[in-house]
Amino acid sequence: METYMILLVVWWVLLGVLLTGIGAMVGMDMGVGTLLRYVGRTDAERRVALNVIGPHWDGNQVWFILGGGAIFAAWPLVYATAFSGFYIVMLLLLWSMILRPLGFEYRSKLPSPVWRGVWDTALFLSGLLPMVVFGAAIGNVLQGVPFHFDWRLTSFYTGSFLWLFNPFAVLCGLMSVALAVYMGGSCLASGAEDPVGARARRAAIAGGLAALVIFTVAGFWVSTMEGFKLVAGPDPGVPQTPLHQQVTRVAGGLLANYATHPALWLLPALVYAGLLLGALAHAIRRPILAWWLGALAWIGVIGTVGAAMFPFIMPSSSNPAHSLTLWNSGSSLVTLTWMVGFVVIFMPIILWYTSWAFWVMRGKVGVKHVETSDHAY
């Protein structure tokens, strides 16, 4: 049991790593899509922006796919309950995301301005919408989602689709868009020649500051919200399910963990530090440093949310006793052990060749390059 609980915590942290990876790596490409029309006033300038992330978007997107696969493997009940509950929103996410590979690959294949205009819009939407949904999903999970189980653990979502866009969730959605703009802007500031790079730098600073304001507002909002408290779980010694627990709602409960462990305040502090220093780094023209500070801010954001919710992963607002926690929704010991093994072996390899890929493609992309290269989008 002891080892199992450690493994659950490890996988809870890895869930955070995955979400951070999605935020930083996929979010960066999404930010570029969102900014496409702002940083690129002409067709050639837009192609500069697309070619900066051209060699990397596909690899980055795997963070998102791995997110799906790893949640499936390590947190099957979360995968089953969250994705079916958020059905229509998930469809919006998927439909906008599947436009993206086509947008990158097909946009510059034909010279027609109408054709390219349509794909530019598709790239904009497929940058903006998924980040709104990503943030809104986190916002909803923080508040609790209306679902319950029957005796077989079939999940039933009882909320409406529109409820998922409640004001707090939308605020979280905007937060993630602002961070995406920051990451995308930083990426273009480092990889694109001026004027695209200069515009991207301004956008990044604006995005970072907007994220700070939203983070602060959301923080005060959270302090007034009800949190959840696990009063009693199933008896020790039997396999844990969400069917035998007592959960109560507590006003201000999302700050309870911070009250007991004040060191956790370092996590939100990380967001402030990352974004403020990031803006400074942009001011002194150090976009790569600024990107890494943004990644640090993402760690802070996901960490802040995780610390506020622990041990809940997805609380139920309509039937709190059925809430999904760290203890009742993870995979079995054997699965979690094997999966840790694969992560320990493959993650360093992935990070190594991803870094190599960025190193090979280093250097700035400019208008001249995209107009003469055979291998450009």
Binding site: K109, P239, T354
Partner: protein, 528 residues
């Protein structure tokens, strides 16, 4: 409690999106490997034409690859969005290969395909070759892990059902990975991908010959592809045969449906070459039978027998009766996980729990005590998949497979004798062959997955229970959305593919430079 129409719509959506995704996957599997072959020839011989070939076919690969990636995104999440109970039921086991696919395959393939396309001028020849190999390896690894996952649905190995957590929990990773079904299916599918890519490249090369364009590139591409495809083609059929051999043991209902074998027969069993199965009457019309052939094909002997549908239904009735107390025990354990009597009851009947879940569909208000003998007969009849679809899909797949093998052998002989560029009829034939492998792959999917019905996990989890509890309106909305989007994608993809085939290898960078009003430039990088 479960709306059958929602289940049907969910199935339709999964089938449509999976079949669509599978139009792009085999070509990627094979073409990435073939690009590695072409580039290896370029690097070892230094002949520029092979670099041109690699770059030209890469361009077509990418048009295809984009849609493969896009539609693959849907698949990774669709288990959760539409098969919620399935996901919690098998995630502990089935999720692992999916996650490993991400870690081991998708990152490799996707990170390096960017370098493969954009990195020609940024790396040494050898480095670029390694990158191309990494892409091919990545795409093939992804097939491996997805088929390990799929084989768990066909032949659940390495996991045990836990009646308290209501899920199949992994016990033995080795048994999951070395599932006999997974191993033969992996090789079968990957080789089918190689054949698909080979016939695609041969067909387009033949079209250039017909038009008298790019003859050097066409001739060499044809030769590489024909040999590559012929080597793969023999393997597809051998492994397909091995799959039938394995399948006979673990999925007898699928096999009986494939052969439209309604009633028990003595060895040696005759093979229904042609039949028009009638599911309601449980018999075939207009059969053409080959004596003894079925025993030879399936058991590789004259005295082998395989069970017929009538025998399988009787066995299913037994298992349903045994499964009912297992499900009842599960319900008690759900209320009280410490109920020792229920646990003992489950231990006794648990191996048939899936059959208990199958008949739950006919239980009034989910009360299994009210199940009648008629319900059991009905549920047993449900264990037989749609015989017509499975029977004919299988025959079409095999016929296409044999046709392709014959064609590839002929193509290899002709290209080695330098005859392809002289025989216009053969060039036309090569062009007409292009759709065949894609169709064969689709029919292969139908045999495997329709033949698995009524289960999502064979003998363990019925399909009707696996779907998410959405409303009909949600499903109509999502299915319509997919149909609209995917139709639009198909039109765009085919248009671009034809356009770039027509442009051919010399029009480098045309889309870009032409748009900017510049002449088509060489591969000089003006600015760094």
């Amino acid at each position: 409690m479960v709306n059958d129409f929602v289940v049907d719509l969910s199935r339709a959506q999964f089938a449509a999106t999976a079949l669509y995704h599978f139009l792009f996957v085999p070509l990627t599997l094979g073409l990435t490997v073939m690009l590695a072959v072409m580039e290896t020839i370029y690097v070892t011989t230094g002949r520029e034409i092979y670099k041109q070939m690699a770059q030209f076919w890469t361009r077509l690969l990418l048009i295809n690859f984009a849609l493969g990636v896009a539609t693959g995104l849907t698949m990774e999440f669709q288990f959760g969005t539409n098969w919620s109970f399935y996901s919690s039921f098998v995630g502990d086991t089935f999720g692992a290969p999916l996650a490993i696919e991400g870690l081991m395959a998708f990152f490799l393939e996707s990170t390096f395909i960017g370098l493969m396309v954009f990195g020609w001028d940024k790396m040494s020849k050898a480095q670029h070759l390694i990158v191309t190999y990494a892409v091919a390896l990545g795409s093939n690894f992804s097939a491996l892990w997805i088929l390990v996952a799929n084989s768990f649905m066909q032949h659940p190995q390495g996991a045990e059902f836990n009646p308290i957590t209501m899920r199949m929990e992994l016990q033995n990773f080795g048994a999951l990975f070395f599932n006999s079904d997974a191993q033969s299916k992996f090789v079968h599918t990957v080789l089918a991908g190689y054949v698909t890519a080979a016939i695609f490249v041969c067909g387009i090369s033949a079209w250039y010959m017909l038009k008298g364009r790019h003859l050097d590139l066409a001739r060499r591409s044809f030769r590489v592809a024909a040999v590559f495809g012929m080597l793969g083609g023999g393997g597809v059929i051998t492994l397909g045969d091995a799959l039938g051999y394995v399948g006979a043991k673990v999925q007898p209902t699928k096999l009986a449906a494939m052969e439209a074998l309604w009633t028990a027969e003595k060895a040696p069993m005759a093979f229904n070459a042609i039949a028009f199965p009638n599911q309601a009457e449980q018999k075939n019309y207009f059969t053409v039978r080959i004596p003894a052939m079925l025993s030879i094909l399936v058991t590789h002997s004259l005295d082998g027998v395989v069970p017929a549908i009538d025998q399988l239904e009787v066995q299913a009735q037994e298992r349903i009766r045994n499964g009912i107390p297992a499900v009842q025990a599960m319900e008690k354990l759900s209320a009280n996980p410490r109920d020792e009597a229920a646990l003992a009851q489950f231990k006794e009947h648990g191996k048939d729990v899936g059959y208990g879940l199958l008949v739950l569909r006919y239980a009034p208000q989910g009360d299994l005590t009210k199940i009648t003998d008629a319900d059991i007969v009905r549920a047993a009849r449900d264990t037989i998949p749609d015989v017509s679809i499975v029977f004919w899909s299988f025959r079409i797949m095999v016929a296409f497979g044999l046709l392709m093998l014959a064609y590839l052998v002929l193509a290899t002989l002709m290209t080695l004798a330098n005859q392809v560029e002289r025989q216009r009829w053969f060039q036309w034939a090569a062009l007409l062959m292009v759709p065949v492998p894609f169709l064969a792959c689709e029919f292969g999917w139908l045999v495997a997955e329709v033949g698995r019905q009524p289960w999502t996990v064979n003998d363990m989890l019925p399909t009707w229970l696996s779907a998410s509890t959405h409303s009909v309106a949600y499903m109509v909305f999502s299915l319509s959305g997919f149909i609209l989007l995917y139709t639009a994608f198909a039109i765009v993809e085919i248009y671009l593919m034809l356009l770039f085939i027509r442009k051919g290898p010399e029009e480098h960078g045309a889309g870009h430079a032409a748009a900017a009003g510049l002449p088509s430039a060489g591969r000089k990088l003006a600015a760094q």
